[in-house]
């Protein structure tokens, strides 16, 4: 376990100095947003074995809410982000309550279909700006004290949020609640027979995951200053699955690494190859599923950590 803390210390130092050694802050922030998103998703897929195929709904919708409140109603950054989290928690509660009634493959299809419903609502509602999305969202300031317009200030704010979210997820997984989730992952009928109200635990995990996904989406709206329909689309839902799978689902650091790889690939490939990006993403999906199901971190653990 000591080696894990060494890794974390190195990573945090790296993240702190990164803007000064060549990392473009906006790119770094985008990376952290997707890493939070993937960590939230991993809470479901990795620790409860629930494949949500519609996580973009929370990510995108809360981005819209935050963006709308800050652009049209002049809310501050903290209130805007909080509103986004609360909205996505409620959305997760409604969708989760319907979806946890079925398991496995049905769960995936139901979350996908309900996320598509959210997509169409965003397409047609007036506050989302329809096809145009929301543009030039201000970053506001922290309680009127620290303005966030500066990229470097914003970078450290996002870093703090990111570390907070990461620690929160670790805490959730290591708590008795997390142990129950793992028990459900290992053998759901058995968890039921022991007397756990499995559906309630699953719903709680779903709401936590949706809230964090929403926070990631809201922060992303502030960082980039825009929210578009692609943020709530099934493509984004697919990407977060890929990030988690590629990095290693059910590991702490896996989703972060997966998000890093996928975001970097997209950033550099989209200029280079155009429409082939989706072919490459699809091919990575196929490779992951066929021969790389443990992901980067999972494979490394298998090689170096003896059980």
């Amino acid at each position: 376990m000591r080696s894990a803390w060494v890794v974390y210390a190195v990573l945090i130092v790296l993240a702190l100095v990164a803007p000064f050694i060549g990392l473009y802050p906006v790119f770094g922030m985008k990376l952290m947003c997707f890493a939070m998103f993937a960590c939230a998703f991993n809470l479901l897929l990795g620790y409860t074995k629930m494949l949500s195929f519609g996580h973009a709904a929370y990510f995108g919708f809360s981005g819209y809410v935050t963006g709308w409140l800050m652009t049209v109603h002049g809310w501050g950054a903290v209130e805007g982000l909080l509103a986004g989290v609360v909205t996505s928690a409620l959305l997760g509660l409604v969708i989760g309550a319907i979806a946890v009634r079925r398991q496995g493959i049905y769960f995936a299809m139901i979350t996908l279909a309900l996320a598509q419903l959210v997509f169409f609502v965003c397409l047609q509602a007036s506050f989302t700006g329809g096809e145009n999305g929301l543009q030039s969202i201000p970053r506001g300031s922290l309680m009127g004290l620290v303005p966030l317009a500066n990229d470097l200030t914003m970078y450290y704010f996002v870093l703090v949020v990111f570390i907070g979210v990461y620690l929160l997820i670790r805490r959730v997984i290591d708590s008795p609640f997390g142990q129950v989730l793992k028990a459900i992952r290992a053998n759901e009928p058995r968890a039921i027979s022991i007397g756990y109200k499995v559906d309630r635990y699953k719903l709680q995990a779903f709401v936590i995951s949706a809230s964090i996904a929403g926070l990631a989406g809201s922060v992303k709206a502030l960082v980039l200053g825009f929210v578009t329909l692609s943020d709530v689309s099934q493509g984004t839902s697919g990407e977060v699955i890929l990030m988690t799978l590629l990095g290693g689902s059910g590991t702490f650091l896996g989703p972060v690494i997966g998000a890093g790889v996928v975001v970097t690939l997209q950033e550099y490939l989209s200029d280079l190859v155009g429409a082939w990006v989706s072919v490459i993403i699809g091919a990575i999906f196929v490779v992951c599923v066929m021969i790389f199901r443990r992901g980067f971190v999972g494979e490394i653990q298998r090689l170096f950590v003896r059980p």
Partner: protein
């Protein structure tokens, strides 16, 4: 003019007919999904992509090789079905022992590849496919005008659905298929080649999707993304109908198409989401779906 709740009757009937056309595509697609799921336990996310490839196969055949509509109706499903068989052999077969979500993820990746390849080759814009000469023109039913091609599309889909239902529920081949769904190992022990059966079933399900694509080509724009959102609606249809039931897939496909058509008249803004809303209601009321059996 006759009106129902203040809406002119021809408008209602017209949208109902359009809805029935969509519904017959839903029925064909959800039928294929149900057949594949029954035997392979795989939710075929690439179903929409195969539907798109079927339409493109017809369009490419006409543009570059002069293959007419009627031949396309036969050849496109064969070609796309063959592609499906290759995918089953190379990929899906090796996932049979794993959890079903891997099949879903794999076919999602395949759908991304298929859509990306077609988009980089043919662009994102829609291509129009001419209605075959034999099926041009309209029927004047007095109360409404019905394009002949639409009537044909409904008729052809319903016939294909019925034949598929008959094959699976009423023939010897179908009884073996159903037996393999129940217990593949036992059926194999009786000397039936289950892996070949699985492979051909996947090919047949994919061919059905491609057939729906060819049937749809003259009424919609052929584009790389035409199957992308359709497949999600079809998933919802399948969840509503209950995945195990062939008849359930057909009936719910047709009726949800009509419901969607009706919504277009009554409250157009909701026409995109009505199927998902119905799905949510059905799940709250009957989690196994309307025709579903298992718990």
């Amino acid at each position: 003019m006759t009106t129902v709740f203040g809406i002119p009757l021809p408008a209602i009937l017209g949208q109902l007919m359009l809805g029935l056309v969509n519904g017959s595509f839903y029925a064909l697609l959800s039928l294929g999904l149900a057949v594949i799921f029954g035997l392979l336990g795989v939710v075929n996310f690439a179903h929409g992509a195969f539907y798109m490839l079927g339409a493109f196969a017809a369009w490419i055949g006409l543009q570059y090789f002069g293959v007419n509509y009627w031949w396309a109706l036969l050849l496109a499903p064969l070609a796309v079905g063959a592609l499906g068989i290759v995918i089953e052999r190379i990929f899906l077969r090796h996932l049979m022992t794993l959890e079903p979500i891997y099949g879903l993820l794999l076919t999602f990746g395949i759908a991304l590849i298929a859509e990306g390849v077609m988009r980089s080759q043919f662009g994102a814009s829609g291509k129009s496919y001419p209605v075959p000469t034999l099926l041009r023109g309209v029927f004047n039913l007095g109360f409404m005008i019905l394009p002949i091609y639409r009537a044909w599309a409904i008729f052809a889909s319903v016939m294909v659905c019925f034949v598929t239902w008959f094959l699976i529920e009423r023939t010897r081949l179908g009884s073996r298929l159903r037996a393999a769904t129940e217990n593949a190992r036992l059926v194999q022990a009786f000397g039936i080649n289950v892996p070949v059966m699985v492979m051909l079933t996947y090919g047949a399900g994919v061919a059905l999707a491609a057939l729906a694509g060819v049937l749809a080509a003259p009424v919609i724009q052929v584009s790389p993304l035409m199957g992308n959102s359709l497949v999600i609606v079809v998933f919802a249809v399948v969840v509503i109908g209950g995945m195990g039931s062939i008849m359930g897939a057909i009936v719910s496909g047709l009726s949800l198409g009509m419901v969607e058509g009706l919504t277009k008249v009554v409250y157009p803004e909701a026409s995109n989401i009505v199927v998902f809303v119905i799905m949510a209601i059905v799940l709250i009321w009957r989690p196994t779906g309307l025709f579903g059996k298992e718990a």
